[in-house]
């Protein structure tokens, strides 16, 4: 009975070793620069000054939206992956299960190609991509 908990204990111990051991190893290798930008919560991008209610760079927004959509679409792949093996073994469905999954991913890839081609993934953009001033219209 108690022996069963040994699994849990070993698992927790292993986890702790991995985490703290990694941190310790890292502290041996990495340069130590205290009081510098390296201590800031975000090491790159926005400076964490003032309240959190400031305006983020608008370029985050397209990338974030694209990321959001692709991340969520992937949710469809979990149930698919779960039953894929059984479906492939099934005579009635067979390879079609794989084809359907691939088609799904290809459709997503077309979306990605479109976003890429449109230049929405570029951090530094050409003038032509600046959104029109709404007041002009």
């Amino acid at each position: 009975m108690f022996f069963d908990y040994a699994n849990v204990f070993v698992f927790a111990l292993g986890g702790a070793v991995l985490v703290f051991g990694g941190m310790w190893l890292g502290s041996l290798i990495r340069p130590k620069r205290e009081g510098e930008a390296g201590l800031e919560p975000y090491e790159c991008g926005e400076k964490p000054i003032g309240s959190a209610w400031f305006r983020f760079d608008i370029r985050y927004y397209t990338v974030a939206l694209v990321y959001l959509l692709f991340a969520v679409e992937i949710a469809f792949l979990f149930p698919w992956a779960r039953v894929l093996k059984e479906a492939l073994a099934d005579d009635a469905i067979g390879g079609l299960a794989l084809v359907e999954g691939v088609v799904f991913i290809l459709v997503l890839a077309v979306g990605l190609a479109y976003v890429w081609r449109k230049g929405d993934l570029d951090w530094v953009r050409g003038i032509s991509h600046t959104p029109d001033d709404p007041e002009e219209g």
Partner: protein, 101 residues
Amino acid sequence: MELGAYLAVSAVLFVLGMAMAAARRSLIYVLMGLELILNAANINLVAFARFKPEIGLDGQIGAIFVIILAAAEAAIGLAIVLNVYSRFGTIRPDDIDELRQ
């Protein structure tokens, strides 16, 4: 845990979502309120599918669809809110009124 507990959480979320959408403080709040309602429905769907095993997985699969469509709706919604902001300089629903009447 009882099914009732899930239903209670879901009902609370639904009411909170409605209140947020109806309060019209900011368009972002309205969108968040709508998301809450959808998630309340999701909790219901998943809970029923879990507690009535005889009825199969319909509810859980349905919940996945709801999550994905909610994300699509949120993405489009935020894009339009951004357009609204660049035009009106505000996202308070009450201030956005150029259409006649």
